[in-house]
Amino acid sequence: MIKAEPRTILSFLHANFDVVKDLFSYQIADGLITKEVYDMLIQKHGHTMNIRLREYRVIRSLGSDYEMRDVYFKLMEFLMFEFKPLLPETIEKYKGSISELFLKIRKYENQDRDILQERIKNLSHQVREFVDLVERNTFRLLAETRELKSNIDRIEYREKVQKASFWIEYYILPLNRILDVKHSESVTSTVLDVSEYANRRRLDFQDETIRMEFEKLYSQLIQTNTDLLRQSKVLVNELLPLLERIRTESLILTGWIEFLRNPYKMDTPPLLKGSRTMVYAKDMLYKVREFFEQFSVNDYVTLEDGVVDFDKWIFDRELFKSNLTKSLPVNDFFSWCYKELEKDFQDIETDKFFALCGLLFDGDLQIEFPKKAERVTLTTTTSNISLPKIKVEPALKI
């Protein structure tokens, strides 16, 4: 029981705002106000301060330490806009309380009028608290995210990645699920159901007082839906993309810093090295030849089976020269040629015969023409050739 007048308490808070603010800051930082800190503050501001803080129930003992009472703590939170983000699980509990009240209102709407009125008021109160918490959470998350983006504390990129991931995973996404009106299990969806019901009942409920209550509830819920939609938009359109970007950017910079630490010892993206053929390349000759050869044949060539003589005779000068040398002296050179060819061929072709006759012009033979006009006639596949009898002997060596 506080004996002091409310105005007196407010005056005290006004006059000693810095002390209360310090206590609030310590409690935010450590979760409580340690005995050392408290004693130090009392020593600084005098013993009366201790009495007033206890009398106005600003603080209470917690073992040997102290803590600020919830009502003052919330007041300071509100005044300083220093909200600690709540885990969405904490906010989600409102789904239970709102649903429970809604169920009872519908079930017992024709019973006791007073309790129905109280339930509607309580429902309204729960919705108000819920919206308030969501707003505070969104505001705080936005502030934290912007702080992370500006990076005033110069935290490392890796820590930024972790923080951004943490906010997204534990705060933003669950909060978004709570606010997602398309999700049947979301709190917003329950609020919308209540709103539809209140809309009907504000028009058709038989008791006027209750109708008025439903009217108030409906007006409040219309505003609530607008507020929640706005919060949801902030989450989806601003907060989530901003955090995702911080996370991605910080991740990339973490990678780059890691890479720049020792860029020559890491495998970089394996890009293909382009190859260009230089005119001074080793294989240039072959490539040019290949290139030009493709244009060298410009007529059509027709090949017919069986027409092509694959067994083409090649004159082996060395062989026949050797045979001739062994046979020297030869009295009738042309007949010898003919006989040589007869060993291999049944019909003697003129070309082959003349090719063999070419041996006559080798320099190491001595040729003797006949004194009489003795001739011999030889028959090839195409001609009858009349030839003189020529004697061939080895050349005299001087």
């Binding site: 890796r158 990645v161 970007r245 991605t248 950017e249 991740l251 990339i252 910079l253 973490t254 990678g255 780059w256 810093i257 890691e258 890479f259 720049l260 860029p263 020559y264 890491m266 495998d267 970089t268 993206p269 394996p270 890009l271 293909l272 090295k273 382009g274 190859s275 260009r276």
Partner: protein, 175 residues
């Protein structure tokens, strides 16, 4: 056999180490014949085709390639300096146009000056221009004017490389 349209251009550019970008006409032919080209490059040259929604390129078996390393260092330092300058480097890589003068300013005042001076493709402004021209030939940047360039979507290969590196490092730390 009928080859896909722009076949010669596709093969020549990819074999020249060039990126083919999604806004180029022959990219569609490459994408539509994804299976054929993957098999074609594998069987003909034993090379793997990396085809993404925004670009395509051939993977080299040679991982110690200097050009890739120089480009990685270039982009790494540019990202770091842009961030230090308070600029959103992802947006800058995506949409901004850079001048050579701006790049020189970032590199000349960088805290990675030792690394920059030890790399012959980065230490002099002229060398950096040569590197950027090389990147232009490979379709990693577009040269909008003689002294201005902007990145194409191919820069993502390098950014993804940095991400992977960070994730590996963080995985090692969390073990």
């Amino acid at each position: 056999m009928v080859y896909p349209s722009n076949h010669r251009q596709i093969v020549e550019e990819l074999m020249g180490g060039k990126f083919i970008l999604s806004n180029e006409e022959h990219f569609n032919s490459l994408k539509e014949n994804d299976t054929f080209y993957t098999e074609f490059f594998k069987i003909s040259f034993d090379l793997d085709l990396n085809l993404k929604t925004e670009y395509a390129f051939l993977l080299s078996k040679e991982t110690q390639e200097n050009f890739s390393r120089d480009v990685s260092i270039f982009i790494a330092i540019l990202c770091y300096e842009l961030d230090r300058d308070g600029r959103n480097f992802m947006e800058a890589l995506d949409f901004n146009e850079f001048t050579f003068e701006e790049v020189d300013r970032y590199f000349d005042n960088s805290s990675f000056i030792d690394l920059i001076e030890s790399n012959k493709s980065l230490r002099e402004p002229d060398a950096r221009r040569t590197l950027i021209n090389g990147m232009h030939r490979r379709n990693i940047v577009n040269k909008n004017f003689e002294d201005r360039f902007s990145f194409t979507q191919a820069y993502k290969v390098f950014v993804d490389f940095a991400k992977e590196l960070a994730l590996k490092r963080m995985a090692v730390e969390s073990e």
